[in-house]
Symmetry: C2
Subunit: 522 residues, 2 copies
């Protein structure tokens, strides 16, 4: 957490926690009438170095005129900044001018379109992980490395640097397998099926997932309907040793912290950055100790990747970087034309998953099929499983109830939460969206379905979301329900209903044309 | 100030001014326990639309846990946000999810390396001027248009859009002349000489200047030692009509507001962006009603422009854009190898300027010569002044005392402040930096001189700065003072002294080699 500052002197103030959540950016607050403010020649939004307790952090300065917030000789610290310094309320803190981190010179070279060396990328990533970049500098890095602006070696160096800048787990055995999807497909909760299938087979699959940021549910949000997911790392490790797998939130493990910082600025810009995506995903997997990975790249008009040529190009980049990091990678290009399963939202997706595990006849067939195929690919990392036999093995584990038993064991180990999959509690306020005309469903817009589910309250309201009644190829008649929106309060129901009225996301073709067959293996 | 938002509903809260200065970014504060926070599904750093009083602004959300700052049903607004809404304390305000402005789609196209149309650039600039871009989006725009990433027509459209997005002055006569320097050379206060010379000749030169942002003094900071510079626009207009010129701060006139917003993020990155520089300077001049402009581009190893080929390329871009905006432009490439004049810092530079105007034998010859030559070029915009006679005319106006009389009249009109140019009050804490060896001064680092003057307190402490005793080509002996640092408090003196110890910015060559002649006309 140390940083360079050329100021020879600094000024001592009293540290005060100001309960303002500034997300990933450190902010400190100084009164305009504080003598240190004038003496140091600070400006609002200056970058300052704050030190206490033998730690130093960089922060952005906000200047406070309001006398209620902090005293004249206080330095207010946002919650994250306070935590990073590890001080007690009222402890002495020192503040000084901060120099931009040295790696900013490399950032400028990248902005100018030059190629960076491994050492330069490492220095940048360490500064990012150490919270030494401002939000503006982070945005500059994200934009300068967007699209295909990083060549494949730069992506490799970025991924390696992200691993080096954080903690790296070593499970002491191999293979350690994992399964990941690049995202963008609502309802696509295959991990919650793949993990118990693979763990039931005895392979080590310590799966940590993110919570949803822009989607209506992440695996961690869905699993949270069934069990605790925020576990201290040592407990997680014991669970994985005992049960060969887990389904937990990855935020507690400090893996690839630079990636977390970068995501805080890249998400709001929603840029298409293959290099950043590859480095982000592979660095997290390698840091988590994975040796083998099955990666799902869904593509389709409203998926993250629209066309097969883009999907192929992305696949090659993943393969190049993984190979050079020593990670065995099996990439699967899958059908991303529509949501997977029926439910979109934590509880709705948990219901779908448990229907599949319980071999319920009502279980969504597409979710089951996709999970079996992905699990089969993971199982084939086992030297004793013959090529092509993975899917059969996965089906056997699922149909026999062994996968369900494994998930139940993992749930008990993580800490069970009550959930009735046959009669799940869903948001009580509902609105049904119906077909405008007779015809065949020819397209479903993933982005709109996700947006409507989010407006309905998912994932924050875990019982909110969208329950889909049709898929591409289904014949519908005018007035027939396409999906039901669930919400837990009237304003959220109204947001979602209004959005669905604007455009409900389903294309119904009345000409009688049947859409072409799925162009892919799933 | 209107914006698009797709949320059908919004929630009413009580508006509270929170005395936190967030510079150019609107920030609003919402308590974590506020029911609206959860209902709307906001996150820290979400972009929200705040409306009241028939105005709407976009702002970034900070989530507050501290119960002292605002009440549970309050919406706290940073000072700038509060001012923009134009509401009274305690007025009802509505908050809703904000959609990214539509022009973000064009921004993404630019990030992807595409060429933007005039309409797209206009939409982006209007959104920027309306504070509808987040700091992250602004940084993205700045990076995507850096270097030579804008072609010359895009630069033209950017400049035109910046004019269209703000107020434009019309003086009702022509020519309206101006003089501008791209900056980067400490002590270079020629405007304070050019304006009185040109105004004394009777030409209209309504000069507004910026305050220093990264330099130790801007023209507005230096003029502020002699007179009021923050004048309401109508008063400024009366002064210009009466005296044919002024020397004021330009911030009150709302000219090219998009440029002000962009500068707030581009300065911290210190990127080299010719397109942004050209659009910024020319939009401000055209918006201020100028019809004729003399532009000074100093170049040298530590100037903004390092080499003559870069200076020539920049000159062509200025000429292309100015020509298409109907602005008569005369570009001067000047010697930027070292500071101009002796003083660096507001009072020190004001002293130099008044020495020149008073024909003091001690006046810095380089400042006098450069100002005469630039003033001569401006005077030649007068159809009655023959080509090549401008410098003679300028010298006559200066030597006769008419320029001094004109500056005195402008000072009285703007509001005189006491200043004794023969015995100016300078920062009482001093430190002299001496030559390490015998030899000839072969280089002076503009960046280090500026930095040392800033650390000494300039421009905030107006009597602080650096007083230079030598120029390139001077012979010095070991221990001879190179310059004196002036400061007003010990910690600032210590900052500057420490920096000068690290590297004082002067290169003294003991081999007896005499540096080559100045490569330029000044």
């Amino acid at each position: 957490m140390a940083t360079s500052t050329s100021s020879p002197a600094s000024s001592t103030l009293t540290g005060r926690k100001v309960g303002i959540d500034t997300y990933r950016e450190n902010v400190v607050y100084l009164r305009r009438d504080c003598p240190v403010y004038r003496a140091e020649g600070f400006q609002a939004l200056s970058k300052v170095a704050v030190s206490a307790n033998s730690h130093m952090i960089l922060a952005v300065l906000n200047v406070v005129d309001d006398t209620r917030v902090i005293g004249e000789m206080d330095l207010g610290l946002s919650e994250d900044a306070f935590a990073q310094l590890g001080i007690a309320e009222g402890a002495p803190v020192r503040i000084a001018h901060a120099e931009p981190p040295e790696s900013i010179a490399s950032l400028r070279r990248k902005i100018a379109g030059e190629r960076l060396s491994a050492d330069e990328i490492l220095a940048i990533v360490k500064d990012i992980a150490g919270h030494r970049y401002s939000k503006i500098e982070l945005a500059a890095f994200v934009v300068a490395t967007t699209q295909w602006d990083l060549d494949r070696d730069e992506v490799l160096h970025l991924a390696e640097a992200m691993v080096a800048a954080g903690r790296r787990l070593d499970w002491g055995e191999a293979p350690v397998v994992d399964k990941h999807c690049i995202g963008g497909i609502p309802g696509n909760r295959t991990s919650m099926l793949v993990v118990p299938i693979v763990a039931a087979h005895g392979m080590l699959i310590p799966k940590t997932s993110s919570r949803a940021i822009t989607s209506p549910a992440g695996t961690a949000d869905t699993m949270a309907c069934l069990a605790e997911v925020e576990l201290p790392f040592d407990r997680l490790e014991r669970i994985v040793r005992a049960h060969r797998g887990c389904l937990a939130w990855g935020g507690t493990a400090s893996l690839s912290p630079a990636d977390d910082v970068l995501i805080s600025v890249s998400r709001p810009l929603s840029l298409d950055s293959p290099g950043q995506m590859v480095a982000s995903i592979l660095s997290k997997k390698v840091a988590a100790g994975a040796t083998h990975l099955v990666l799902d790249i869904p593509f389709g008009p409203t998926a993250k990747v629209a066309r097969i040529d883009e999907a192929q190009r992305l696949k090659k980049l993943f393969e190049y970087v993984a190979r050079n990091m020593g990670l065995q990678l099996d990439v699967v290009l899958s059908d991303g034309r529509q949501p997977i399963g029926r439910g979109v939202g934590p509880a709705l997706e948990a219901r779908d998953v448990l229907q599949v595990l319980n071999n319920d006849p009502a279980a969504p067939a597409d979710l089951r099929l996709k999970a079996l195929r992905l699990a089969g690919r993971v199982l084939e990392f086992d030297p004793d499983v013959r090529g092509g036999e993975g899917v059969e093995l996965a089906r056997d584990i699922l149909d026999s109830g062994r996968a369900l038993a494994k998930l139940e064991a993992i749930i008990d180990a993580q800490g069970r939460r009550p959930f009735n999959w046959q009669r799940p509690t869903l948001g009580a306020l509902v609105h049904e969206v119906v077909a405008d005309a007779d015809g065949i469903v020819t397209a479903i817009d993933n982005l709109r379905v996700a947006r409507i589910a989010r407006l309905a309250g998912a994932p924050k309201a875990e019982t909110a979301g969208v329950d889909l009644f049709c898929r591409i190829g289904d014949r519908v008649t005018r007035g027939q329900p396409l999906y039901r929106i669930h919400a837990t309060n009237t304003s959220e129901l109204e947001f979602a209903r209004h959005e669905s009225t604007h455009h409900h996301g389903f294309t119904v073709d009345g000409s009688g044309a049947v859409p072409v067959d799925p162009f892919l293996e799933f």
